[in-house]
C-alpha cells in the first residue's frame, strides 16, 4: 500500500490554536501535523478496539507472587485454551517476591478480554492491566 499524502485545511479560533501550539511544544512535537495525526489515530484506535469482533494486538501485564504454586503452569494452560495467537511472553523479576509477566497476543477483542479476565482471577496474581490496540495496519 503506497501512502499518498494529502493536505487538508482546518479552521480554528486563534485562541484555541495558540493553546494547542503551546501544549504540543511543551510535549515535544516537532510540528502540528504530527500532533493532529496522533489525536486522529488515538480516536480511530479507541473506536476500533471498542468493537468486540475487531482484530487487535494486546499486552496483558500481570504482577504476581512467583511463590504462588503452579501459577505459571495455569497461565500457560489458559494461553493454550484460548484461540489466540500468543506472540511472546516475557518474565521480569521485580523483587524477591514479585514478578511481572508481559503477554503479547493477537486476536479478537472479546477473546482477549475474556483471557485477561481469567488470568486476573488466578491466585497469586496481584495486579493486572490489559492494553488492547489496533494492529497498526489501519493507522498508517
Amino acid at each position: 500500500m503506497k501512502n499518498v499524502l494529502e493536505r487538508v485545511g482546518v479552521s480554528l479560533d486563534q485562541n484555541l490554536l495558540n493553546q494547542f501550539d503551546a501544549l504540543i511544544e511543551k510535549q515535544g512535537y516537532v510540528n502540528r501535523s504530527e500532533a493532529v495525526r496522533d489525536l486522529i489515530r488515538a480516536r480511530l484506535d479507541q473506536e476500533q478496539t471498542a468493537n468486540p469482533t475487531a482484530d487487535a494486538v494486546a499486552a496483558i501485564l500481570l504482577v504476581y507472587d512467583h511463590h504462588a504454586s503452579n501459577l505459571l503452569e495455569r497461565l500457560n494452560h489458559l494461553q493454550h485454551d484460548h484461540l489466540l495467537q500468543i506472540i511472546t511472553s516475557t518474565h521480569i523479576h521485580l523483587d524477591h517476591h514479585n514478578c511481572l509477566e508481559i503477554i503479547i497476543l493477537k486476536g479478537k477483542v472479546s477473546k482477549i478480554q475474556s483471557l485477561a479476565n481469567r488470568m486476573t482471577c488466578l491466585k497469586g496474581v496481584k495486579l493486572s492491566r490489559t492494553n488492547i490496540m489496533s494492529t497498526g495496519k489501519e493507522l498508517t
Copy 2:
C-alpha cells in the same frame, strides 16, 4: 475577547484521512474542522484538569439510598465546609429506594477531588462519579 478564525494545513496519509472521514460521518459531524477542533479541545481539557491547582467546573453525581438517615444534612455540611462555589444541587428520584444528586460546583481541581472523595464515603451513597472539566473559557 474577539475570536479570530485561523486556517491551518495538516498533512495526512490518504488512508488515515479516509478512515477519519468515515468515522466522523458515522458519528454525525457536519465537517472535518469541527471534528478536529473537538479532538483538540478534549486534549487541552485533559491537560488542564490534570493540574491540581487549575480552576475547573465539576459535576459530582451520587446515587444514594434516601432512607439513609441524615445523608442530605451531611452532604450539605460537606458542601459548606469546603471552600468551593456550589452552583446548583439537583435531586432526582430514581425509584422507591434510590435518588440521584447532581452537584455542580467550581473550584480548584484538588479541592473538588477531595470533596468528591468525602461524599463517596458517606453511608448511604452507593455510587459516585466525578466529572472535572475546564471552565470552557479557555476552549473558545
Copy 3:
C-alpha cells in the same frame, strides 16, 4: 424488598489490610465494611454498564457556546428523536460565553451512548462527558 444483612469473612495479609485501613481512614470512611461495599458496588456497576442492552441512568454534560445558533433547538430535537426517557435538563451559565447543560436520562446503555455521540458533534458544543450508571436498584 427487605434487606437481609449478611456477614462474610475475608482473609487478607496483615500488610495489605494495614494499607487498606490507612487509605480508607484518610478518605473518611467510618468503617471497613462500607469501604468494601463501595468497591463491590463500583465493580458491579462497571460490569452492568458494559452491557449495551442493560438499563441505566445517565448524565450527559455539555459545555457549549450559547451564542451558537439554534444549538438548544437541535439538542432538544435529538432528545425527542431518541427513545429515551429524559428526566431533567438543567442549564447553567458558566461565564459570558459558555453554558453547561446537564441532561439526566434513562434507557439502554447503547441508546444513551448513541445520543451522547450525536450531541458531542453539534457545532457549539466544546466539551462533553457521559456518565452511565446502574439505576441503583440492583446495588442495595
Copy 4:
C-alpha cells in the same frame, strides 16, 4: 517480611452479596476472599500511582512504523536521557509496516509520564499506551 493472614468480617446486604458472588463465579474466581483482595489491591494501586513522586514500575507500549528513519536511535536516546532504570525493551514485528516496542522501566511516576510523553511525540510512533503500576512489594 513474613505474611500474617488476618480474617476480617464484612457486612453486606444479601442482594449485593448474591450479585457479587454471581459476577466472580462467572469471571472464574475460586473464592470470595481472592476477589475482594483483588479489589483492594486495585484500589491501593490506583492511589499509589496517582502520586507523582511514588516509585512505580511501568510498561510503555509503542506501535510504530519501522521505516521511520532513526526512530530506534531516538527512542534509545530518550531512554538514556531520563534518569529511569530501563529493565527491558522488547521488539515485536506486527506486520510489514508496523512494530510494537515494549519498554519496561522503574522510576518515579512523574518521570515515567514525562518519558512516555516524549516518546509519543516522535515521528513514526502511531499509538502509545502507558501502564504505571505499584511495584508489587506493597501489595503482598
